[in-house]
Amino acid sequence: MLIARNITRIIDGKTIWSGLSLKLKEGERVALRGPSGSGKTLLMRALVGLDAVDEGEIRYLDRPITEWHLPEYRRHVRYIPQDAAFVSGSVRDSINLFFSFRANKDLEPDSGQLLAIMRTLQLPETFLDKTAERLSGGEKQIVALVRSLLLKPSVLLLDEPTSNLDEEMVSRMEHLIDLWVQEDAARSLVWTSHDTRQLDRMTTSSISLYKMADPAVT
């Protein structure tokens, strides 16, 4: 369903990755592995259309990304950046804001689903009234994930989604994501993490990126 063919990304004359191909089938969980600087984040940004690729093609549901109206495309393929920021108002406000986007107008905030998620994470309902200034880095990650799940994606691109959380919360988040994937056979995800054991737990296949050798200095 989500396919990349021979894609290449060059920044300031430096090749980040080239000739890269991948296929993400329905229900699949793919780990994106590679050392820092190998372009994992850039690949996710390309997959969600935040950056254009220099060569090759990305297709979703048999349509090239360049032919999609991107907000509509991102209605299906959602990406949670590292440090997905959270700027002002309460957690609830920020969730409602995302439902107000035109591309999401067919979606309604599902309070039952939200309550179930809060239960899985063992968070009190008052968490939803916390304001941006009072949230820790880890809590912001929780908000970002919860918000994305409520917005019913088909493909979720997770960039270090639990890097700021303590062990206990990491396992609750993993459980939450597990439940989400199992709920519908069509859902799939791509995950990056420095924690390779987490990737082993949470994913079923993997793509490895290597740092392109710097041009030889002679």
Binding site: R74, P81, F101, R102
Partner: protein, 267 residues
């Protein structure tokens, strides 16, 4: 000069006024405050610039040639457009054009409307009205543009993560940019709004004071001051909105991406 209702300042009197500054320079040297150089450079620059402007204005007022007056107006607008961008701390491609187009369009629109539609100046290009009104409108629009542009670029840089999180969840470029646009407009309008708030209470506005010194009836001067403030507010709002929207079109691509790489630090 005959028939003037104000005291014409002679060279001797000018010199006496300059002496006022000399006292401060003396104090600065005596106490080693290091202000003397800046004060002297500033005073000399001001003197030369104002004499030059005075000569040009006197010449233009004498020729009364509409082409020359328009040329002067265009030069003023161009300088204001460039100065507005020079005050910002970041750049994007086309920023100078954006500034020139918006400051030119908004200042000529507002000044033109005021001169022909409100004040009914005849002929419309009478430099006695056109040049000072345009000058004041430009000076304020310049501040609005530079503050608005600065805030817009700053907002898109520091809130990049937040903007891209919204974009990644289906926000259109307009939905993702809206908060930054609103903040940029607000920032650009702050000096104008503040000026109106305190006008007449904390300080007497410069143009009104000038007219009173020149012998105008205070109530007449007040009316002029109100007209110019309405013009300034309208033009600053128009110019700030225009330039922020043009910046938005550069910083957010048509396919709903944030083009943060287009913003560069000023060299």
């Amino acid at each position: 000069m005959e028939n003037t209702s104000y005291i014409v300042i002679s060279n001797l009197q000018l010199g006496l006024a300059a002496l006022l500054l000399l006292v401060n320079i003396g104090l600065s040297v005596l106490l080693r405050l290091g202000m003397a150089k800046d004060l002297i450079v500033g005073a000399v620059r001001m003197t030369i610039q104002l004499i030059l402007v005075g000569l040009i204005l006197e010449w233009i007022f004498q020729t009364r040639d509409p082409l020359m007056i328009i040329l002067m107006a265009v030069i003023m607008a161009t300088l204001a457009g460039i100065a507005a961008v020079n005050r910002t701390s970041r750049r994007f491609p086309g920023i100078f054009w954006n500034s020139l187009v918006t400051i030119g369009a908004s200042a000529f629109l507002v000044t033109g409307a005021a001169i022909t539609g409100i004040l009914n100046v005849s002929p419309w290009y009478d430099p006695q009205y056109l040049i000072p009104l345009l000058g004041m409108v430009l000076g304020n629009a310049l501040t609005g543009i530079s503050l608005g542009l600065d805030r817009m670029m700053e907002g898109c840089t520091t809130n990049r993560n937040w903007i891209e999180t919204m974009l990644s969840h289906g926000a259109s470029r307009w939905e993702a940019a809206h908060e930054q646009i609103r903040e940029a407009l607000r920032t650009g309008m702050i000096p104008t709004v503040n000026a109106m708030m305190i006008m007449g209470i904390v300080s007497l506005p410069g143009m009104m004071t000038g007219q009173i010194l020149a012998g105008a009836n205070p109530m007449d001067a007040v009316r002029y001051q109100m007209v110019i403030m309405f013009m300034i507010a309208a033009c600053t709002a128009l110019a700030t909105l225009g330039v922020v929207l043009l910046a938005y079109r550069v910083l957010f691509s048509r396919d709903h991406r944030l083009m943060e790489s287009r913003i560069s630090e000023k060299k």
